[in-house]
């Protein structure tokens, strides 16, 4: 990082304070953006830096150059700039930025915006020479920043042409202040003050006007004119000649200025013009002299467009326009010396640990051999800092045949290509890296005497393993991973982490979930050692996903919690709660907590996940988020909201091709939702729409729907048909050991036997379900159909013989969940009526007497009376007519 880029340029000695511009800029402190837009040489930087120093405004200044077209580099400079005001600013964001892969830039900006809010100070962020930015991602992130900018920070952009930000939007919102060339250009009056008062050149009023016309108030032109007038007897004549000449004014003036210099100084100016920035030792080195410091300071004093880049006057640069004019002359006069000058500069920068600048000179002179050699040495560091765009840029500039000879650059370039989606292109370079490596060294003789070589080979093979895991080629992934494992040193935790990750992915696609989990656990361990957030996050999501697929709710939850704790401890809690790529984790946590019966905590996760899903466009994610929310909301008694979530999920399905598996889960949830609420009409519509029939073939993709359908048939009184489906469902879930589904099947089976009056079998099935659900604490299965199974559970819980093999804690958890469920219902004024009780109300609504009802149901008159008493109690009413009204109101009949 070049700290000189963060230096606020000093306004110089002959500065004219321009009050009207200062006042205008002051107005900008109430707006989001101040835009200073004018061509080179209009004094933009000077005006702004003068205004800042006159008003003592805290400022983060960033002078942008072409090399800053990498979002990571760009943001790193901005953070470092703000740290000059507030040293603790953005530390976590910076660590996050400087990791080889990272969450979206947007979430890093969100993190930054939060940090800015912590600074209780108004300050300005100046982005000078913004026209150098061409990278689309940076333009996007600046737009995002402007959209979300906190009130205490004001952005000031200095540029030669209007940037592609949403300028017109800001203008219409009165959030933009513009300073343009018409504001900046010097009037005849300003010219007269500059020449007479500051430079003591004695200019008449007419001459001032002439100069204004000729230069159009262009400050660089005026300054050059003043320089060329030095030592001239007749200034008026000089101005007259200037006026009559239609040559490009800078050419004309430059000639005059150079004429005034000694040969020695002229040579110094021309030859140093190849440098974007210069220090005395650097100038001494490339010009073989030792008095450069004196010359530089002299030039600065004489207003020769030399700008100090720091307070110590170690580094300087020429004004860009002046440098252009010098460079153009240098090319005409000393073409052959130019490359010599560049080579000396390369050598000096390289020896002084400023490799990035050395590379710039090498590329400018098209010395690609040297470029790739220099880049090859620093590419690993760039990659570690996350400067992917910069690596891609180098890859684009350098000739391919040279890249193919540099194993180091090939490796990192390939990696960046692969993760940016250019898998095929990345694969060829990775292949090259491998070939180069193998040609240079026989890997059979790789031994511990050369750990660097071994490590490089290890890294190449990790990249290959990763590549093949992306291409879904498990055999190759495993092959490369094994080689990597043999070669990587134990300290290479990042590489080991990615290697194990690739291996885990390979096992996953081979269908070996438990091997896959072992591998991801290793990857997770190395991820934590390497502190690479991207690796840790990726692995944590995969890991919890696999665990859940195996029904390991407890360990899935533990993994997620471990990851969340790690993120919180390291200051990334904002990111995991805002970046949508983490939503999957919240869904896993929410689902697990929900199944454990912890609906309050599950609700929190569901809400976070919902907010994140709204920001993303991932449909799969969307469905799982919505389903979770529907279930959680229903448990909280918020039926309307719960239904809304299902409908929203259905809408998502309509507009998109969806996995049939997920679609069936959604439909089964919807069907169960209506059945549990006695909304049989709506349930019937679903059954008709899906065209469900008792004789349909049942498989693992549609089983969820058919399970709900079996329950539907039971309610319809079609016990036999329900039984057929249930027995098939039981067979397929039992054989394939899908424990969760088996639990759900057994519960519905219990209801089936209750309906068919085989209570022994009903208890048996329910007890088996409890035994299956106990190890993973899956409480909620028993709440879904509580209305139907509560009486069964009451009996089971009372008989020790039934539950002797079940951990008492689990029984306790179910009881707590039932109690909780009851409270929610009470809160919503719906005490659960049993099926029988509802049946009785229905008959009452048909104006049947107690005796008639008793006859109809084959029960005694007294039993009917008992039922009625219970109904009155539960509905908190005291008459038959009120019971009917209330039951209708609650949608029970």
């Amino acid at each position: 990082m070049l700290l000189t880029k963060l230096h606020i340029p000093s306004a110089g000695n002959n500065i004219i304070h321009r009050t009207e511009l200062s006042e205008k800029l002051n107005q900008g402190l109430n707006r989001k953006l101040i835009l200073v837009s004018a061509p080179a040489g209009f004094g933009k930087t000077t005006v702004v830096s003068d205004w800042i120093s006159q008003n003592n405004i805290p400022t983060a200044w960033f002078s942008i150059d072409k090399a800053d077209n990498d979002p990571v580099e760009f943001l790193s400079y901005i953070i470092a700039g703000i740290q000059n005001i507030h040293s603790e600013f953005g530390l976590t964001s910076l660590t996050l930025l400087n990791s080889p892969s990272k969450p979206s830039i947007q979430s890093i900006i969100s993190l930054l915006i939060n940090d800015i809010l912590q600074i209780k100070l108004n300050f300005i962020l100046v982005l000078d020479d913004f026209h150098q930015i061409t990278n689309k991602d940076i333009l996007e992130l600046v737009t995002f920043l402007l959209d979300h900018i906190p009130g205490n920070i004001h952005t000031l952009i200095i540029t030669r042409s209007d940037p592609s930000l949403s300028i017109s939007k800001l203008r219409s919102q009165h959030q933009l202040l513009e300073v343009r060339s018409s504001d900046l250009s010097f009037s005849a009056n300003d010219i007269s003050i500059l020449f007479n008062k500051k430079l003591k050149l004695k200019l008449s009023i007419e001459d001032s006007y002439s100069l204004e016309t000729k230069t159009e108030g262009w400050i660089a032109g005026l300054q050059l004119a003043a320089l060329s007038m030095q030592g001239k007897e007749d200034i008026s004549k000089f101005i007259q000649d200037l006026k009559g000449d239609n040559r490009y004014i800078m050419d004309y003036l430059m000639e005059e200025v150079l004429k005034n210099q000694t040969d020695d100084i002229k040579e110094f100016l021309l030859q140093t013009s190849i440098l974007e920035q210069m220090s005395a030792p650097l100038c001494n080195a490339i010009l073989n002299r030792n008095d450069s410091q004196l010359i530089l300071e002299e030039l600065e004093k004489n207003n020769m467009f030399v700008i100090p880049l720091d307070n110590e006057r170690k580094w300087f640069r020429y004004h860009h326009l002046f440098a252009d004019l010098l460079k153009q002359r240098l090319q005409l006069i000393e073409k052959e010396t130019i490359s010599k000058l560049h080579n000396k500069a390369i050598e000096w920068f390289n020896n002084n640990s400023m490799s990035a600048l050395a590379i710039e000179h090498a590329i400018e002179t098209k010395n690609f051999e040297k470029s790739i050699q220099l880049i090859g040495n620093m590419v690993e560091e760039m990659w570690e800092k996350g400067q992917h765009v910069a690596i891609l840029n180098y890859g684009n500039i350098l000739p391919e045949e040279l890249i193919r000879k540099n194993a180091n650059f090939c490796l990192y370039y390939a990696w960046v290509l692969i993760i940016s989606g250019q898998v095929q292109k990345g694969a060829t370079f990775l292949n090259d890296a491998e070939t180069i490596f193998n040609s240079k060294c026989d890997n059979n003789i790789l031994n511990n005497s050369n750990p660097d070589k071994k490590n490089l080979w290890g890294k190449i093979t990790v990249a290959s393993a990763y590549l093949h895991s992306q291409l879904n080629n498990p055999a190759n992934t495993i092959k490369y991973f094994k080689i990597a494992l043999d070669n990587l040193g134990t300290e290479e935790s990042l590489w080991l982490g990615w290697g194990w990750y690739a291996f885990g992915m390979a096992q996953f696609s081979l269908g070996d979930l438990s091997q896959s989990i072992n591998a991801f656990n290793e990857a997770f361990k190395f991820g934590k050692q390497s502190h690479n957030i991207h690796l840790i996050s990726t692995v944590a999501q995969r890991l919890s996903d696999c665990e859940q697929q195996l029904g390991h709710y407890r360990s899935a939850y533990e993994k997620c919690s471990e990851f969340m704790t790690y993120m919180n401890d390291n200051g990334y809690s904002d990111i995991v709660n805002s970046d949508w790529s983490y939503a999957g984790l919240h869904v896993t946590i929410g689902n697990t907590l929900y199944m454990f019966g912890n609906s309050d905590k599950a609700y929190e996760s569901a809400q976070i996940a919902y907010k994140m899903y709204k920001e993303s466009k991932d449909i799969m994610l969307g469905i799982s988020v919505l389903l979770l929310n529907s279930m959680v909301l229903s448990t909280r008694g918020e039926d309307k909201e719960s239904e809304q979530m299902i409908l929203e999920a259905e809408k998502l399905c309509e507009n998109n091709q969806l996995l049939p598996y997920l679609y069936n889960i959604l439909q089964s949830l919807k069907l169960m939702f209506y059945l549990n609420r006695k909304q049989e009409e709506k349930a019937k519509k679903i059954v008709n729409k899906l065209n469900l029939n008792p004789t349909d073939k049942v498989d693992h993709l549609n089983e969820a729907v058919y399970l709900a359908y079996a329950y539907y048939l039971l309610i319809q009184g079609q016990n036999k048909e329900a039984g057929t489906i249930l027995s098939r469902l039981h067979d397929i879930t039992y054989t394939s050991k899908r424990v969760e589904r088996l639990i759900a099947v057994k519960i519905i089976y219990a209801i089936y036997y209750k309906y068919t009056r085989d209570s022994d079998k009903a208890y048996e099935n329910l007890i088996e379900a409890i035994a299956l659900a106990a190890p993973e604490n899956l409480v909620m299965f028993f709440i879904h159909n509580i209305r139907e199974i509560e009486d069964l559970l009451v009996v089971i819980f009372k008989k020790p013989a039934y539950i002797e093999k079940i951990p008492p804690q689990f029984i306790e958890n179910i009881k707590i969940a039932i109690e909780k469920h009851r409270k929610v219902l009470k809160k919503n004024n719906i005490e659960v009526l049993s099926i029988r009780e509802i049946e009785i109300i229905k008959y009452m609504a048909n104006h049947m007497s107690n005796q008639e009802i008793a006859d109809k149901l084959f029960i005694s008159h007294n039993t009917v009376k008992t039922h009625l008493k219970n109904i009155f109690l539960k509905l908190e009413i005291d008459s038959r007519s009120k019971a009917i009204a209330k039951a209708k109101e609650l949608g029970l009949i």
Binding site: H131, M250, H320
Partner: protein, 66 residues
């Protein structure tokens, strides 16, 4: 814009600036300088336009030749 292109800037820009305007030929007409050349692609054109901007030259017109 691609192909042969005519760019007109105000004033007399000396031919020694040719190096800075990749592949353009210089000629003069009245008070203006005319740059004619084969534009390879958008990036090429914008490079030239940026050069005109950076030197604070006055751009009068950009047109395809035929």
């Amino acid at each position: 814009m691609k192909g042969k292109t005519i760019i007109i800037v105000q004033g007399y820009l000396d031919k020694k600036w040719k190096n800075s305007f990749d592949g353009m030929e210089f000629s003069y007409e009245e008070e203006n300088t005319i740059l004619i050349g084969n534009i390879k692609d958008k990036a090429h054109l914008h490079g030239i336009l940026n050069q005109i901007r950076d030197l604070n030259l006055k751009l009068i017109s950009v047109n395809p030749a035929e």
